[in-house]
Structures are given as C-alpha cells and as structure tokens.
C-alpha cells in the first residue's frame, strides 16, 4: 500500500511520461501481435479509417470504404497513415489521450479551487487525472486505434474552457461552444450535453415565493448562454454543411442517419439486442423500443435539470448523462464506455463512499460485463445456441449499469474531494 501511494505521489510529469511509455509499448506490441495471431490487436475500425484515408488521398470520397461511418475529418486526420506510417493514427489518438489527462488535471484543480492548501489540491487533481491516464480501457482504445477518444477530447476541452479561466471574458464561451460543436459533428451524443452546459450558465433563484413572471424571466438566456449556443450551432452547421457540399447525402447518411436508425441485429451489450434480433423484419412502430427511448429522454432531461443548473455539479450532469446514453443505446459495444469513463475523473473525487464500496461497485460492473463476454464468446467462436443466455446477461449488465449509477448519485457530494479537504476544513473549524 505504501509503495502504491509512493508511486501515486510522484510528480505528474513522471506519470505523463509513464503514460506515454505504456502507450508506445502497446502500439509496438500491437504490430507484433497482429503478425503472430489470427485475432488482431488492432481495432477493426482502424483499418476502415486507413482505407478511407487511402480513398481521400486518391481524390475519392472516404465513404467509398464500406462501413466507414464517421465524419470525413477522421479520414483526413488519418492521411499520414498512408505516407508516414500505418501507426500514425494510433500515436495521434494516444497523444489526444495524454492531452485529455492534462486537461482533466487542470479542470479538477480548478473545481477544488483555492479552498485548501495547494499541495492537497494538486494531489487530488493528479489522482483524478490518473483515472484516465492509467485506465486500461482508455489505453486499449487509443492504442488499438479507435477514434472514440477524439470526441471525448473535444468534450473535455469544451468543459475546460467553459469552467476555467484559462481564456477569460466572453471568448471562453465562444471557444467552449466551438469545441462542443466539433464534438457533436464527430459523434451525435454530445448533443445531450449541450442542454446542461447551457443551463449551467444561468442564474436561477426560483423558490416558492417567486412569481411566475420572475420565474419565466430567469429562464431567458443571458449573453453567455447566447454566445455558447450560437458558436456551437454555427460550428456544427459550418462543418456539417461543408462536408455535405463535399460528399453529399452519403456523408449525412453514413455519419448520422445510419446511427439514428441503426438496426444492428448482431450480438452486442445492449439490453435491446435480442429483442431487436427477434423483431428484425418488423419495420413499423415498436412499443418496447419507444418505451426505452422515451424513458431515456426523460432521464436525460431530468438529469440536466437536477445537475446541470449549477456549474459545480455540471461535470456530474455530463457524466450521468453519458452513462444513460450508453446504457439505453440500442447498440452497445465496449468502445462506448469511454463516453463516460473520460468524464469519470471529473467527478470521482466527489463520491462519498468507502474504498471497499467503490471496489464492490467496480467489481459488479466488470463482472457483469465478463459474464456477457463469456456467453458472447460461446456464440461467436463456438457456435453454441446461447441467445437467451446472452439476453439474460445483457439484462444483468443493464441492471449493473443502472445500479452503479444510482449508487454514484446517492454518494455524490460536491466538494467532497476524496474526504481530504473537508477533513482539513473541519480541523480548522475546531
């Protein structure tokens, strides 16, 4: 334990260096692994990006590559893959990973503010950043060449500029809006975050004695909210329109429409998987899916109102929304987990719970996943008829997600700071 603490307390720069080393080693390992084994280390989508970049380089549309379902920006970023080296993309994604860690550290430091001695704030913010830097999932996702860490980077940066004073005045809202716009262009899901981000900039002094007129007035947007909204919409519009002009309807369909109406019947983590498979050829209105979508929207809205109205609880609003978006999605694969894992470091220090309980929650989440993976393996690699068991495991995983999130909401205590700063404050009060 002492050794672990000693390791955790080394300067942040050293952690960054070791984070970089781990990623570089895994990129090198991936190359060797792919040569030896049949099941590759590299993500399937990485080849898709590279192929799309090859099409772009040849002056064609990236959508000439079947199953390329991303913004063309990712294909552009992958261009050096063709003329520098096939690992360029993985290095780039890993670099973004490191940037995310640094942004997270500064952001957490800012959250804790000047409440207590600087050393403690520094230490806590480092601990939080390590949740991302050493997260096996984030390491695996970027070194396997999955681009999902890219929208995460833009979301974190958007929140970073919104909540810190790195850029001052109204330009910070402008910058935040632009970054949010880019992230929505890359992946649709950050659209849900725009509402709590917008709400967090307002001032609400509504109580029982507030008249309806004053209540309505306080809901009118202020200047900052207008700047955030317009810069976000403008960026999103600009990017999407220019891509539309370049690649036409194919871009809109593959990047957005396909994801909205995706009917993936192959096995995945989603609780809706087996139901979707059984109802594969029914195109009409579906009550179970409508129910799921309806509840998802209600929860996203309620979470926005509950956690989004206060800048202090805004990161938790985004985190809990990300969990809900993933849990209720009709298609869920493990790459989606980084939607919320990238936001976890921003809120991890606010959970007032015993380390033992935190470990149990983590175990519940991981073992529910493991159980699903076991049956999925039996189906995919052994051709065993286990559809109903996979469905049961996806139900268990859904419950695990919901239960863990519920427990996190219950233990969520803004300003808790792993109990470190509060303890200091208490002793001072005495």
């Amino acid at each position: 334990m002492k050794r672990v603490l000693q390791f955790l307390n080394v300067p942040f720069e050293y952690h960054i260096i070791s984070g970089v080393l781990i990623r570089v080693l895994l990129i090198v390992y991936g190359d060797i692994h792919d040569k030896i084994y049949d099941v590759p280390y590299t993500d399937v989508d990485y080849k898709v990006f590279s192929d799309a970049a090859r099409h772009v380089l040849a002056g064609n549309s990236p959508y000439k590559r079947h199953t390329y379902r991303y913004s063309p920006i990712i294909a552009y970023l992958m261009l050096p893959n063709i003329f520098i080296g096939k690992n360029f993309g993985k290095v780039l994604f890993s670099f973004f990973d490191i940037l995310v860690s640094i942004a997270l550290k500064i952001l957490v430091g800012h959250q804790l503010g000047a409440t207590s001695d600087k050393r403690k704030v520094e230490r806590i913010s480092v601990y939080c950043a390590l949740f991302w830097l050493y997260n096996p999932m984030s390491i695996a996702i970027s070194t396997r060449g999955n681009a999902d860490s890219l929208p995460c980077l833009f979301i974190i940066l958007s929140l970073f500029y919104l909540q810190t004073d790195t850029v001052q005045g109204s330009s910070k809202y402008l910058l935040s809006g632009i970054l949010l716009g880019i992230s929505i262009h890359l992946r649709i899901y950050p659209l849900a975050f725009s509402f709590p981000m917008y709400l967090s900039l307002g001032e609400y002094k509504i109580n029982r004695r507030t008249s309806i007129k004053d209540g309505m007035l306080s809901l009118l947007p202020n200047v900052n909210q207008i700047i955030l909204t317009f810069s976000c919409i403008f960026t999103l519009f600009l990017l999407t329109c220019s891509m539309y002009l370049l690649y036409g309807y194919e871009f809109l369909f593959e990047t957005y429409i396909y994801h909205l109406f995706r009917k993936d019947t192959k096995h995945n983590f989603s609780v809706l998987f087996y139901y979707s498979y059984l109802t594969m050829d029914q195109l009409s209105f579906d009550i179970v899916k409508a129910l799921s979508l309806g509840f998802e929207c209600i929860i996203l809205f309620i979470f926005s109102l509950t956690f989004g109205c206060d800048p202090k609880t805004l990161p938790f609003a985004l985190f809990s929304q990300a969990v809900v978006l993933v849990t209720y999605n009709s298609v869920m694969t493990s790459q989606y987990f980084i939607w919320f894992l990238s936001l976890l470091p921003l809120v991890a220090h606010n959970f007032k719970m015993l380390p033992a309980k935190a470990s149990i929650l983590a175990m519940i989440w991981i073992s529910a996943q493991g159980a699903w993976l076991f049956y999925a393996y039996l189906l995919e690699f052994k051709c065993r008829e286990v559809f109903i068991l996979i469905w049961l495991k996806s139900v268990v995983f859904f419950c695990a997600n919901v239960f863990v999130l519920g427990q996190l909401i219950k233990s969520y205590t803004p300003g808790y700071a792993f109990g470190q700063i509060e303890l200091v404050a208490k002793t001072k009060n005495k």
């Binding site: 199953t67 051709c383 999130l405 219950k410």
Partner: protein, 250 residues
C-alpha cells in the same frame, strides 16, 4: 539445294508433328487433379482451405502444370461471405490472393443476401498448391424453436492459366477458355481454362445458431420491465439527490 531445304522443312515438320501428337496422345490433356476442401476452426469466423494435387505418372509429364497459376472459383451460399476489405488487406500484405466476384454487404442477414463468389489464386509448386480464404457466417432470421441453420458450401470450380500456350493443345471443345481477372492487383483480364478434377471431400457443412421466436413474449416483456424499473430507480435517485440538497439548504 532447294529440294534439300524443302525435305528438311518437311522432315522437321513431321518430327514436330510426331512430337506434339505423341505428347498429346500420351497425355491427351488428361488432368488428374485432386482437391481437398476443408473448413477450419469453429464459430462465425472460419477458413476454407484447399489442398490441390496435380498428379503425374512420371516426371516427364509435369509439363502440363509447370509454372501455372490456379484459380479457384468458390460459390458461397447467402449465409456465408468473404469480406472484400479483409481480402484486400491480405492482398496488400501478400498473404493471400483472393478477389470477390460480386459486391458484398457484410452487414445484412442471410435472408436479405444473395449467394456470392470469390476467386482464390495461387501458383503451382511441385505439382501442389495450398489455398485458403477467410469466410464469415451471417445471422439468420430467428425461427420458432431456434436451433441452428445450415450453410452448405459446394465444391469449387478450378481454372488454370499457364505462362505459354500449352493448354491450347488440349481440345478446345472440351475445355472452352473463360476470361476473368488475372490477379487481384490489376483490372487486366486473362484467359483461363476450366479443368476437371476429383473432389476428395464432401460438401462443407456449417451450422450456425439462430434465435428462437418462442422467446419473443418473454424477451419483450422482460426487456420492457427491466427498462421501466431501471428508469424509475434512476429518476428516484435524482429526486432524492435534489430533495437532499434542498434539505441541506434549509
């Protein structure tokens, strides 16, 4: 002198004719080719391998196959596909020379797909060639009672292309030439000869599990119930949080 010349030419002509007819008569392009087709691994992702042996009685007879290229034309049922992008990557890395014959949508279930074909190419070395191609199974529509669906992979067609015109010696009526791609890397077309062979293995059988429609009501009800209770739990948690904050504020 002139007469001598003509005698010489006639003689050479006769010798050549004798030689070719002799070879022709001896071999009569009687191909003795044996093909073994095996489906490796288990699960939804497998490899079809082909072991092809070109038998010759004695060493003088291997002229017919020497330095020739074999192309296998494998028809895949609608429940099975070879991934064009995967094959392209193998081609780029010189691991495999396989080309899809049709456009393939890898995401569709069996019922919405058509049978497809794939060419696998390889060079004959010491009268033998071993070829393989990675194939994947599609999902089938769920049926009442579940169980598994059967995919049957038939024997392939075999083509030969040699560096010279030697195959033209064979009877054109028996072996009409076919034109298709020379290899995967260019759009150039070549003339191929379809050759007869003996299959040493049976039709390949590949059973994949299918969903059970009898689960429909249990799954629909169960899914709906879980989603609703999970949602109520989360909304309750958010409500409690808000109530707790209000209490603290008071």
């Amino acid at each position: 002198m002139r007469a001598l010349h003509s005698i010489f030419f006639v003689n050479t002509g006769i010798i050549f004719l004798y030689f070719t007819t002799n070879v022709f008569a001896k071999n009569s392009c009687e191909f003795d080719v044996k093909v073994k087709q095996v489906l490796l691994n288990e699960g939804f992702h497998r490899n079809i391998t082909y072991g092809i042996v070109f038998n010759t009685e004695d060493e003088d007879d291997d002229w017919l196959y020497k330095d020739c290229i074999v192309a296998i034309d494998q028809t895949l049922p609608s429940g099975v596909y070879a991934n064009p992008d995967e094959m392209e990557e193998f081609r780029r890395n010189h691991k495999l020379n396989a080309i899809p014959k049709n456009r393939i949508n890898i995401e569709l279930p069996t019922e919405q797909s058509e049978p497809s074909s794939v060419y696998v190419l390889g060079k004959i070395k010491q009268n033998k060639v071993n070829l393989w191609v990675p194939v994947h199974a599609r999902y089938h529509k769920a049926v009442s009672g579940g169980g598994s669906a059967r995919n049957e992979i038939e024997a392939p067609k075999l083509y030969l292309r040699c560096p010279d015109q030697r195959l033209d010696l064979c009877d054109k009526n028996v072996l009409p030439p076919v034109t298709f791609l020379c290899n995967g890397s260019s759009k150039e077309k070549c003339s191929w000869k379809k050759i007869p062979f003996t299959m040493l293995t049976d039709t390949l059988i590949w059973d994949v599990p299918v969903g059970d429609l009898e689960h429909y009501y249990a799954v629909a009800l169960g899914t709906a119930l879980v989603v609703v209770s999970g949602s109520v739990y989360l909304l309750q948690a958010a409500h409690d949080f808000k109530a707790g904050r209000v209490r603290k504020a008071l």
